[in-house]
Structure formats: structure tokens, C-alpha cells
């Protein structure tokens, strides 16, 4: 049984094997460097499905370190935890190196 909840919203993230870049699981099993392309799991069953796709991508040597993370906003897909927000935007002390650059 899936746990249905209004608050449940997760995306799947990993690091790309070749260069270590932070990536997010997007549609059709693609990996994007942008969270706004990420597919959102709204149930635990959907989360498990996305994680299974991630595990397959690990086996295919595309990515490593696959995790599902909570997001705070369905619109911006901003992660809830500070650690993940920093992974998303880059080091807060070097905005010149962030993802917008």
C-alpha cells in the first residue's frame, strides 16, 4: 500500500559517475542538472519506482550515490534540507561557481 499524503513530494538525485556532477532524475530515465526537470514522486510507491530507475542507472555506470530527497515546493522543486539545497545551488560561499553560472 502506498502512503498517500498531501505533503509527500520527493525527487531522486545522484552524482554523475564520469564527473561527479549533481544530477536529478528526469522524465524517461534521463538525468538533468536542473531540479525543475526532475520527476516528482507523490507517493512512496512512486518513490520506489524512481529509485529503481536510479539503481538501474548505477548498474549502467551513469550515476552513483542515488537518493530520494524531500522537496519543499512542487513549483521550484527546492529541496527541504539545507544540505540538498547546497548540492542544488553550489557552495553558498562561491556563488560565482553555482549552477546559475
Amino acid at each position: 500500500m502506498s502512503k498517500e499524503s498531501k505533503e509527500f513530494a520527493k525527487i531522486v538525485t545522484a552524482n554523475r559517475l564520469r564527473d561527479g556532477a549533481v544530477v536529478f532524475l528526469a522524465a524517461q530515465g534521463q538525468w538533468s542538472e536542473k531540479t525543475d526537470a526532475a520527476v516528482v514522486a507523490k507517493t512512496s510507491d512512486e518513490e520506489a519506482g524512481l529509485l529503481a530507475t536510479g539503481v538501474a542507472a548505477v548498474k549502467a555506470c551513469e550515476v552513483v550515490d542515488v537518493n530520494a530527497i524531500e522537496i519543499a515546493s512542487l513549483t521550484t522543486r527546492e529541496p527541504s534540507r539545507l544540505r540538498e539545497r547546497i548540492r542544488q545551488i553550489g557552495p553558498t560561499v562561491r556563488p560565482d561557481l553555482g549552477r546559475a553560472v
Partner: protein, 550 residues
């Protein structure tokens, strides 16, 4: 400086070729991550928050200008134009691509460098006093023992799978600039009662979640028996260290559990065996290594020996002389600290351009040599006194003449949550804001020596336990909070700081630090440093004022 022989070079080159093959197999899918991970870590390649991070060893913190230029080249070609000098005298690159890592190691090998012993449960890159070989009053250059330990420990088959990582530091001075007593083994080179060179061996120090100041385990170890004794010390640890619990696996836990006397007794018993095993270095090999550390030809002239340093009427230069220039063992020369702590800057970070400037200035003023300090600064160890003003002028042009060594803005900070996958809170922004708050140099000089050390988690890479003021970042229900410790020291009077009380939010921590400093300024006696004042009055007056407003 030590120069690789054909065996050293062959070992490092072979490791590059091996890792190139491993990376190639990993990228081709022939090697799964669970098999590859320990192999990349053996080559200093971690996966951090944003990318792979490569930690490059700088054995005992000594670099040639050529090596520094290579570090700059790597930052420029493979990273994003900068590197981060760490509290273990290493350098880390934060944006490394796995596919580039073998080429980087090959570039490092071309200047006799590598990333071996920068990760894993092995004897890590040995550290030493950053004034090694030039310090006033030094008993012996600690780089000789350090190099012997480096060669002994590299790929040591018996100690390649220790219960946990193992860190050794060496100093040849009474004054401890290498945090000897916070290492798994700390070695102080001394003279015994007969005036012969010997080692005092401290074992079981450390920071992390269970900090200990290392007890003295062996006094006056004969110089020729260093390796057999280290072998014995490691064997006892390897045999009885806790492999069942990562948090209790460091040697400090074993020494504490057994008691220093019992641990020393067991090592002594083991040593009677190891000293018969021909582990000690043959005298001719010891002499071969020693020869690399013969002091250079110093040539101070009358201008270097003059009482007054030219240009010292300039106030800014005078301030820099006071804090960043230190006595050299040879009259007419000086040791210079290049601060990597500009106001609002990131402690320990250096850009490609800065690294190249330092390499050029090392050639111009310091016999081509640079040192890395565990306090995340750089050192030019051999500067003629008559050239100090010219060096300062060149440093000023490069933004490297910050006159704050040992002052409140000379802050140690780990990478914290901005980069590190283990961190719970950010360290660097706190360091930046404290340095901005205390930017006024006159105020800094008025406060005097004050070492602030910040860690972003309990692992204590930022040495918060040993800070005169230590700051530990924690995660409290998703928010960054900062605990304050008072009265720690990583010097010869080593002590562990005391936690003052409830932590402060990121918004409140800088005010809290200023409150502590103001309390100190209000109660200090003439000439009394912050640490001495804390030890005299205890933490109570500081706590009282700090929490009064809450």
C-alpha cells in the same frame, strides 16, 4: 629537500598506471562502485557534495616552487581555478572529474607528488612543524624523521588495514606548531641526559567526537630505534583496536581503555620483539635521507644583519612584521607567514594566480621553498631581512600581505556543509563574518593572539576542540546551530576546550564571539593573552555575560 630516487619514482608511476586502469575499467562498467570506491580512496579521490574531491599529499608541509606551480596548474586545468589548503598540510581540489583523475596523478608524479595516504585506514601523510629546519632553538629538523616515517609507512603491508586512520606528526622544537598532542602519535625530537638525539613519543591524542590530549608513552627513545618502536606501537593497536565500532576504533580509545601505563607496557613488550627484527633503518640509509635536509648556503650580509629592517617606518609594513615575520635560526634571515585569511575570504583557499605568485616569490626571496601550515597559511622559510620590505610590497600587490597571523581573523575553518558530505553545518560563512566583524587591524592587534577554530561537524577537521575559541556547527531540527568551546590549545600547552552552554543560531554566533572578546578585553591583565586570561579566571565570567541577555 628530499628527492625521489628511482624506486620512489617507480612506485608512484606504477600507482598512476594502476589507477588509470582502474578508472578505465570503472567507466567501462567492468568495475562496480562498491569495488571501485576503496580503490579511488586509496588515491585520495572522494565523492563530496558537488563533485569528486582530490586530496593531494604535501609530505610534512614542504613544497618546492616547482611543485607549487604544478598545484596551480592542476587548479587551472582540471578544477575551477583554486585549491584549498587543509589542516593536515594537504591541498584539496573540489571539482575534479573522475575521467581526469589519472592525468592529474600523472602530472603530480612528474614533480614527485601524489595523493597516496590521504584517505583510508592507513598511516596518513605525516605532518610536521611548518618552521622545520629554520626554527630558532630547534633540536633537529623534524623532516628527517618525517621522511623516514613516510618511506616506512607508504604501502606498509602490516598497517594497510588498520582499525581506523592513523596520523603522525613530528616537531623538533619545544614550541609546538604541529599540534603534536592531538595526533595518534606525536613525536618530539629532544636530547637525552647524555646530550644525544632522542624522541619523546606521545600516543593516543585526537579530536573528533572523543577528544584526548596524548599522554607521553615513551621518553627518550633512542634515535636509531624509531621504526621498531613505531612498529610495536602500531602492532598493539592493530591487534586490540576496536574494529567493531567505527566511533571507538581510533588508538586514543584503546590507550584510554587500557590506560597509558598498560598500553606503554604492552608496546614495550612488543618492542623487545620488533627491535630484533631488523626493522630499524640502517645507518647509511638514515645518512642518505639526512643529506637531503642539510641547510642551504645562507649568505646574510651587513644589510641583513642591520638592527633596523629597511622600510619599517611604514605602519602597515610594521604591523605585518609584528605578526607575520618570525625569527630564523640564522641571523640575517626571517621566516614569513603568507596569510590565506583576507577579510571576508575563505580560510585556506588559494587561486591559481595566488599559487603562481607564491611560487615566483619563493624563487625570488626564499631559496625556492614554500611550506603549508596546519593553520591553513603558507610560509616562505628563508627570507633575507633586507628583502622583507620588497617581499611585502610584492605580496601587497597580490593581496597576500594580510597582517593577521595568530590574530582573531586568522581562523581555521573546515570546508563545512558548503562542500563536505559529512558536515552538519557551514563553517566558512561563520569565519567570513567573524573576520568582517573584526576587520579593523588596530582592534585585532589590540586583542592580541586569539585562535578561533571552526568545524562543521563532530569530526573536528577544523580543530574546534583546540581553539582558544572553538566553534562546532550542529544540525538542530534542520537548522544550523553553533556551540562554543573556550580554552582549547593545540600548542605545547595542549588542552581541550570546554563547551560553554547552549548553542547559537547562525545569526547570533558572531555577536556571541564579540561578547566573549569584549569580556576578555574587560578583564585581562596587562600583557595577558586571551588563553591565559581564560585559564586564570575560568569560563564563568564569559558564560555569565554571554547568556545574561538570553
Amino acid at each position: 629537500m628530499y628527492q625521489y630516487d628511482k624506486y620512489d619514482q617507480a612506485m608512484v608511476d606504477a600507482r598512476v598506471a594502476e589507477f588509470r586502469d582502474q578508472v578505465s575499467r570503472r567507466l567501462a562498467g567492468a568495475l562496480p562502485e562498491e569495488h571501485f570506491r576503496p580503490l579511488r580512496l586509496l588515491n585520495g579521490l572522494y565523492l563530496q557534495l558537488h563533485a569528486y574531491m582530490l586530496r593531494v599529499a604535501v609530505p610534512y608541509g614542504t613544497l618546492t616552487s616547482r611543485q607549487m606551480r604544478m598545484l596551480a596548474h592542476i587548479a587551472q586545468k582540471y578544477d575551477r581555478g583554486y585549491g584549498h589548503f587543509t589542516t593536515r598540510q594537504n591541498i584539496q581540489y573540489n571539482w575534479i572529474k573522475l575521467e581526469d583523475a589519472p592525468d592529474i596523478l600523472a602530472d603530480l608524479a612528474s614533480v614527485q607528488m601524489h595523493a597516496i595516504q590521504t584517505s583510508g585506514n592507513v598511516i596518513r601523510n605525516v605532518t610536521a612543524d611548518h618552521f622545520a629546519g629554520v626554527a630558532e632553538g630547534e633540536t633537529e629538523d623534524p623532516r628527517i624523521a618525517s621522511e623516514i616515517i613516510r618511506q616506512w609507512s607508504t604501502f606498509h603491508p602490516e598497517f594497510s588495514f588498520l582499525p581506523r586512520k592513523f596520523k603522525i606528526a613530528v616537531t623538533g622544537c619545544d614550541k609546538d606548531r604541529a599540534a603534536i598532542k592531538f595526533h595518534d602519535i606525536g613525536i618530539v625530537i629532544v636530547r637525552n641526559t647524555k646530550g644525544e638525539l632522542a624522541y619523546d613519543v606521545y600516543v593516543g591524542g585526537g579530536m573528533g567526537r572523543t577528544p584526548f590530549v596524548a599522554p607521553l608513552i615513551k621518553k627518550h627513545l633512542p634515535q636509531g630505534e624509531l621504526l621498531s618502536y613505531l612498529d610495536a606501537a602500531l602492532r598493539v593497536y592493530n591487534r586490540y583496536g576496536r574494529r567493531d565500532n567505527i566511533y571507538k576504533a581510533r588508538i586514543k580509545i584503546l590507550v584510554d581503555a587500557l590506560g597509558p601505563e598498560e598500553y606503554a607496557r604492552q608496546v614495550e613488550e612488543e618492542w623487545q620483539q620488533t627491535r630484533q627484527e631488523h626493522i630499524n633503518l640502517p645507518a647509511e640509509e638514515e645518512q642518505r635521507i639526512r643529506a637531503f635536509f642539510v641547510p642551504p648556503q645562507y649568505s646574510a650580509d651587513a644589510a641583513d644583519l642591520a638592527a633596523e629592517i629597511p622600510g619599517s617606518k611604514d605602519v602597515a609594513f610594521k604591523n605585518w612584521l609584528r605578526t607575520n615575520v618570525h625569527n630564523h635560526k640564522v641571523k640575517g634571515y626571517a621566516i614569513v607567514t603568507l596569510s590565506l585569511k583576507p577579510v571576508g575570504g575563505i580560510p585556506g583557499d588559494a587561486s591559481t594566480a595566488e599559487m603562481n605568485v607564491v611560487a615566483d616569490l619563493a624563487d625570488k626571496y626564499s631559496l625556492g621553498e614554500v611550506r603549508v601550515t596546519h593553520e591553513q597559511n603558507l610560509i616562505l622559510p628563508n627570507v633575507r631581512r633586507s628583502q622583507l620590505h620588497a617581499l611585502w610590497t610584492d605580496l601587497k600587490a597580490a593581496g597576500l600581505a594580510v597582517a593577521n597571523a595568530g590574530l582573531i581573523t586568522d581562523i581555521i575553518a573546515c570546508p563545512g556543509l558548503d562542500y563536505c558530505s559529512l558536515a552538519n553545518a557551514r563553517s566558512i560563512p561563520i569565519a567570513q563574518r567573524i573576520s568582517e566583524r573584526f576587520a579593523d587591524l588596530d582592534r585585532q592587534h589590540n586583542i592580541g593572539e586569539l585562535k578561533i577554530k571552526i568545524s562543521g561537524c563532530i569530526n573536528a577537521c577544523g580543530h574546534h576542540h583546540a581553539g582558544h575559541i572553538g566553534i562546532l556547527g550542529v544540525d538542530r531540527k534542520g537548522e544550523e546551530f553553533y556551540q562554543i568551546l573556550l580554552g582549547g590549545s593545540g600548542a605545547e600547552d595542549a588542552s581541550i576546550g570546554t563547551i560553554l552552554g547552549p548553542g547559537f543560531s547562525a545569526d547570533g554566533i558572531v555577536d556571541a564571539i564579540e561578547n566573549l572578546v569584549n569580556t576578555y578585553v574587560g578583564l585581562r591583565k596587562p600583557g595577558e593573552t586571551f588563553l591565559v586570561a581564560v585559564r586564570r579566571v575560568g569560563t564563568a565570567p564569559f558564560k555569565e555575560r554571554l547568556y545574561a541577555r538570553a
